[in-house]
Each structure stands twice: as C-alpha cells, then as structure tokens.
Symmetry: C2
Subunit: 483 residues, 2 copies
C-alpha cells in the first residue's frame, strides 16, 4: 500500500515533508554533523507517516549527500566539506601524472637514487667550500643574526647585492623594491595570494613547471595554457587567450624555460608585453635559472620596467636548496602590501638563511663556481643528448644553457608508462604531461642532465622501452588496441 502511495502525489509530498523536517534540524543544528538520525520507526511515529515513507526520505537525503547510512547502525548527518585536497583523484596510489607526484617522489628518495626527472643539481655540484665557510663565519657572528627575527623586507646587504645583480640584467630596481621571501615558490605563492581572487584566470605556458599547476589549484584559480615555442609562448594564441579568458595573471620562466630549456626571443618579449599592456595583464617572471645563462636572454621585467611585470628568483639551483631564500622585485606601490602579507603569513623570513646566502654570494669564489658550473652543464648536456639519441630519444631543442633537456620519445611510447616502468627499476623520471595543462606532452620527457651521469639510467630506459614495445606488440597481435 505504502509502496504504491509513494509514487503518487500525496506520497511524494509526505516524503518531502520528512526530508524537509530533517534538513531543518540540520540547518538549526539540532542535528549536527556526525549525529545519528532518529530511527526510521520512531521518526515515522513523530511525523505520523509510514515507515517506508521515512525510509525513502532517508535514502533520498543519503543520495543528496546530506546524510549517510552506516549498515546496521542507522543514518548519520554528514560532516562539513572535506578539507582542500590537491591530489586530483584523492587516491594517492595511482598518482602518475599528478603535478605533485614527481616533487614528492624526488624529495622522498635519498641522494644516491637515480633521479634524472628531478629539478635540481646533485649536492656535489654546489659550492661546498663557500657554504661551509659561510656557516663558520655565521657561527662566530653577531648573536642577533643567529637568534632574532629579520626585518620585514629582509637583510639589507643581500637586497643591495640583488639590486646590483638585477641591474646587470637590465632590471633597474632599488633595494627597497626587493623583498626577501622563504623561497622562490613562496614568492609566487605570496604573489598569487596578493593578486588573485578565487576563480580568477591565470595563463601558463604549455608545457610549464609542473608546480605552477599545483600552486594555482591551491589558489582556486582557473588555469589556461598557451603552447610554448622555441622563441617563447605562441604570441598569436596568447592574444586569443587574453581576449577569450581575460586572465588576471601570466606566470612564466624567463631566461631558461622549465621544462624546455628555450629562451624568450626579443620580438616575442616585446609583443607579449604589448598584449599585456592592452589587456591589463600582470606577469610574474620566475627567473630562478638566471645564473646558468651563458648569454643573457631578454627579461620581461627589463623591457617593462617593473610596471606590470613582477620579477622573482631564488638561489636553490646554483647555491643551496637547503638554505631557503628567495626574492620578489616589484613596483613600490605593491611592495608595502606584500610585506604586510608576508608578516601575516610567515611573520619574518629567516635571517640565518639570508645571511648564509649573502655570505656565499659575496664570496669571491661564487663567480668562479658559476662559471665552472656552466661549463660542466654544457658538457653534460652534450653527453646526455648523445646518449638519449642513441636510444631513440630526441631533444626538442638544444638549450643554450641550463640543466634540462626536453625530449621526444619514439613513436608509440607513452611517457607516463615509461616513467612507471622505470620507477619499478629505481629510476625517477619526469613524464611530459605533468608539465602540460592540455596533456598534449604524453610523448615528452624532461631530463636533468646533471642527474643523468649514471650509465645505468640509460640501460633501464632502453630495457623499459623494449618491454613496453613488446607489450604493445602482444596487445596488437591479440587484437586489443594499445592505449
């Protein structure tokens, strides 16, 4: 009888009445998240409806996600929204093209693991003696530096030194327009918080540094991408994206692009800035690979005079990733608000880190270290490129400097499959699609030439590629289409 009336208008109204009664109790918090709902039998008495009407009402509320059933125990009010999760699936086991996957893999394994996919130099390539000397100097230094908070903008002599260095790249900025941060990543994070409202659109290069994707997701930004060419972003498409999506912000690497190793050409830089001017776009130029350059490429900040371009950098690639320190150079109107934001979100950046970086940078040996590093990287670049080409993996371009080789795999091979296969053999790779918002880099792989000295890496690559090809061949032979 009841099951019949449930489909009728009167039944529907009764079910909705029960649903409304429960919803109201949840809204007024007489039923709080986690609380058990009245039993079906007792609530049917309260509401003067049949048991099956209550069952149906509870089922519908469960389908809506308002309550959930625990078998054998009844129905419970669901909790508030779960906390923010950056992993796309919520499942960590299968996170293969997750932008955070490589970061965590590379950070978790030890120094002696084979990780051509990671984004930094081996510690032995960094200026050991200068770092130890800086440490000893500080150990004897002023206790205030060892114990106290730093000033809001950050260590004055380091900001002076940075102003000089930026001047060498044509970026004229006084030290009080430079704010130190905990790292390059924190610099971008602060700027996103400063510039973006949730839902704002941001343009990135495709491919680009994968952590930009994760960071922008944390800011709840909409992300659109523009294909990257050997000269910089495709300006034609960039203009179309500006028109269609009216983005607030563009985040890019200047000088040496991650992952491609390409550099912005002067004409691309000029056209980009014209487009940005016309549409009110703000640009964050992440220049953390600056010191690897042999011949300086154009800087957007130099062309633009820090009007709509914000320039950031750090020392994690050429000095130390363990001593956290980065910086932001921006126009004066913005620096003061950025300082407020830094004080609110991290109170002060570490004086010890800033002092160590300063001591190491001003040490006479730093320039020699960097020069030797460039030569060593260029040599490794040639060697690794030759080794990769020997097994059919071809660089997309020959970068003028830096540590990255962006390579195309042989036809029919998927980079994520290859990364998975090599991971099983202890080699951590960086498959192309983690860098690509459009996921059009499934046949690309980024290699860090400084982390590719071990010949076993190429043996593992070769063997894994052979294995994957065999699987594909088998699948084809048995009539199943290979993905």
């Amino acid at each position: 009888m009841d099951s019949l009336s449930m489909t009728g208008a009167a039944g529907t109204t009764r079910i909705e009445g029960v649903m409304a009664a429960i919803s109201e109790r949840i809204a007024t918090r007489s039923l709080v998240p986690g609380a058990r709902l009245p039993s079906v039998r007792s609530f049917s008495k309260t509401m003067r409806v049949s048991v099956s009407t209550v069952v149906e009402a509870y089922e519908r509320l469960a389908a809506e996600g308002v309550i959930r059933s625990r078998p054998g125990s009844g129905f419970y009010v669901c909790g508030p929204l779960p906390p923010l999760s950056l992993s796309e699936t919520g499942e960590k086991s299968g996170r293969n093209v997750d932008p955070l996957w490589i970061s965590r893999q590379s950070l978790e394994v030890g120094d002696d693991a084979m990780k051509p996919g990671c984004g930094w130099l081996p510690p032995s390539w960094l200026p050991q003696a200068a770092l130890r000397k800086a440490m000893r100097t500080l150990a004897r230094g002023d206790i205030g530096v060892l114990a106290n908070y730093g000033t809001p903008l950050g260590l004055p002599p380091l900001r002076q030194l940075l102003a000089r260095r930026l001047g060498e790249h044509g970026i004229n900025v006084p030290p009080d327009q430079i704010m130190l941060t905990e790292s390059g990543t924190q610099a971008i994070d602060l700027l996103c918080r400063f510039l973006l409202e949730p839902g704002d659109t941001v343009v990135v290069d495709d491919p680009c540094y994968f952590n930009f994707h994760a960071l922008l997701r944390a800011h709840r930004a909409k992300v659109v991408s523009v294909p990257f060419t050997p000269m910089g972003p495709d300006v034609e498409l960039f203009g179309q994206v500006l028109e269609r999506h009216k983005p607030r912000l563009y985040i890019t690497n200047s000088a040496i692009h991650n992952p491609t190793g390409a550099a912005l050409s002067p004409v691309t830089a000029h056209r980009l800035l014209k487009l940005a001017d016309a549409s009110g776009l703000i640009i964050i130029e992440d220049d953390i690979f600056a010191d690897f350059e042999q011949v300086p490429a154009p800087r957007l900040a130099a062309y633009d005079g820090l009007d709509r371009v914000i320039h950031i950098g750090s020392f994690s690639k050429t000095l130390s990733a363990s001593i956290r320190c980065g910086f932001i150079a921006a126009k004066p109107e913005w620096i003061d608000d950025l300082v407020d934001l830094k004080v609110a979100s991290s109170f002060s950046c570490g004086q010890v880190s800033a002092e160590l970086i300063y001591l190491a940078l001003k040490d006479g040996s730093y320039r020699k270290h960097v020069e030797a590093l460039r030569v060593r990287l260029a040599k490794a670049m040639d060697e690794v490129a030759a080794r990769l080409e020997a097994i059919g993996i071809t660089p997309w371009l020959k970068p003028h400097a830096g540590m990255f080789l962006w390579c195309r795999l042989p036809e029919g091979l998927d980079a994520a499959d290859l990364a998975r296969a090599c991971l099983a053999e202890g080699v951590i790779l960086a498959p192309g699609n983690v860098f690509s918002l459009s996921e059009t880099a499934g046949r690309f792989m980024r290699f860090n030439v400084a982390q590719s000295a071990d010949p076993r890496i190429f043996d593992v690559l070769k063997a894994s590629m052979r294995k994957l090809r065999a699987i594909h061949k088998d699948a084809a032979a048995s009539g199943i289409t290979a993905a």
Copy 2:
C-alpha cells in the same frame, strides 16, 4: 537647454545610452583598463548627443568607479580590482590599531630599541653557545644537508624528538604524523588554506594574538570572537557563538595564552571539546610558548587525541626566531594532503634550519637553558609587575609562566593614545585593541617582561601618561569632551 533636458526622461535615457555604450566597449575589451576614453566632444558626435550629456554620463561612470578622470587629460578606464591589501585603511601613516602595526614596528627597529610591546625575547636571553655550536657542527657536516632540499615531512630525527616531547605533554603522536613547516605562522597559514573556504567563519579568543586577525583576513575568513577569562574562553558564550555562527575553525593558544598569560583550566578544556564535538568544529592549538611552562597546563590535543584538534608549535620563542622552523601534528588522514599543500606552496622546508634546531635541542645544554630561562622570566615578571603597579598600571592576572603581562591602564587613559605618545619617545608598546576583535581592550596593554629591563621605559610611560591626562584635563576645562 541641455541642462534642463538632462533632468527629463528623454535626457536620462540619452545619458544612460552613452553610459551603456561605454560599458559595452569595456565589456568587449575594445576599451581596456587604463585606456583613455574618447574625448567628450568626439563622443558626443559619435553618439549624436550633446556635449553635456556625455559629460554627465562620464561623471556617472566615474562615480560608479568604472572610469576615472585625470584632470587636464580626460577619462580613463579603471583597472581591475586592486590587489589584496591587509591594512584596514589603505593609509599606512595612521595605522595605530592595525594588527600588523606592532609586528612591522617591532621588526623594523634595531635590537637596542626599547620595545616592551614586542613578542619575543632579546637575543641575549637565547642559548647563544648551543646555536653557535650547532652552526659549527653543520659547517663540518654532510654536504647533502647544506645543499639539498629536505624530505617532504621534514628531518626525521627532529620529528622523532618532537614526538617524544609531545608525548611528555600527553599528546601521543608518531613522527609520521608530524610535518615540519617554515615557522609556527606558516603552520597556521597552511592549515587555514587546508581547512577554510573564503567566507568560512573562524572563532578566536578576545583578546588573542593579533597576527591571527591579519592571517584570517588574508584567508578572507569571517572572524568572530569569544571573551577570554583567566580559565580560557567563556564557555557559555562559546556555545552561543557555535550555534549562531556555525564556525569551521577555532584558533587558540594553549598552555600560555597570548596576550593574557592565562592557561586553560581542565574543566574549560573538557567543555570546549564537548562543544566542538557536537558542532563539528576543528581546533588549531598553537603551543609556541610550551617551553616556558613551569607546571604543564592541559592541552586540547592531549584530551582529544588529535581527532579534531591540530597541534602546532615552533622554536622561535626559546631557541631562535632567525632559524625558521615550526611543525604541525595532526591526524594521519590530513597529514598527506598537508604535505601536498606544503610542496605546492613552499616546495620544501629548509633542511639547514631543521638540522640546526635539532642539534640545538638535542644538545644537553638546552634543558638547562630552558630552566634558567623560566627562573629569569619569573623574576622579570615580578619586577616589571611591581614597576608597572607603581605607576598605576595593573596586571589583569599574575601569569603562571611566560613573558607577557596583560595590564589595565588607569581610568580615562586610552592605550592607543599612550602607544602613540610613547612611540614618539622611542618606546614601542602593544596597545590592547590590536588583540581585540571587538575592540573592547582599549584600556589594556601587553608588556613583554623580558623586553622591559630598561628603566627609561617606565619613565617614558609615566611622563606620557601625565601628558595625556593634562591634555584631557585641558580639553575638559575648555568644554570639549575628551574622546
């Protein structure tokens, strides 16, 4: 003629027509932010209306904030929303009760300034020898530590040491549920980002650490406050706030409350957690003053078993504020997502900092340092309390430990006025209302007893109080009501 027709229906329609034409050009980006509008004369021809109609339309658009006039140069399209600014007024000169005011004042002045308003110990109170020794040890240590990124959770031996220390406070947590952060502030910032959606409501104590206000504003949270009693928050009112505002989160200090120096009583802790359970509230317990305690006060995390309480801390108060390192202890389901968020927003926390903190903490001298510190603070507390009482400034309670004295000023004196007057004499104070969301602490002032050794502080206070009273008396005599 035109000025007459403007008030008529036809004139209004014409004005609106011009406004609509401009708005459409802005919407379709044929006029972009910063672009100059057509001159009044030329646009009157385009639209076939009178000059004064265009003038009126432009004026109205300017009043709406869509365009702005530059005298002598015409009208321009306004830019997008200005970037986030945390200062309440946008004017920095008058920021007297701005929560960021004290932070920046205290951080900007040198170590030898008189700053009884600041929130940390003088460097000479910190364990100089242990810090220098840690530095020297690290200078000789593994190059990987000096140069490489740390692991995602952070230095394992430091997390083990923290797990043991937390165990001593009844918080049983394995090392893999502890994540290191760049600082205590960054720990709270990460958690806010993890737990809050813009517009979510957060409860704080009134008064509370002023940076909570600034931080929550950066997260675009709604903030409500509950009066703090010598036993903890007023539980009755806390319950009412939960019912009325359904907050997502409560941020508080356990052990030693900032600014009052009060400690949570066991019964308050228990009742708070019952209320939190019933309403699904999450609690961040900021325990950065833990090491100052003589007798341990209850920890919410210990009662709750890290179910809905997240416990954070740092070493900036007893070891070094210059070596940035903090931590989060939370339930396992949350730690993994928090690591993702940390990698996205700061990539890695500094291994050098974590290693220095670890070396200093495990040094046999640390426990002795902390014991001596407690005795020294207790002595300073008595002395400063006596000096303040001698000039009519009365502690709200006698804290059982820590460095803060929360004091009431004599009748008729305003703490912000007094802070302003003393700042002119080179003494930085912390006026009550920067700690108070409801701005009901206008007669209170927080004193840091460790920063109040200089007798000139009390001379300046006394003289400034006398001066302010004289001004009030004059104002009263001349018939003007004193504010």
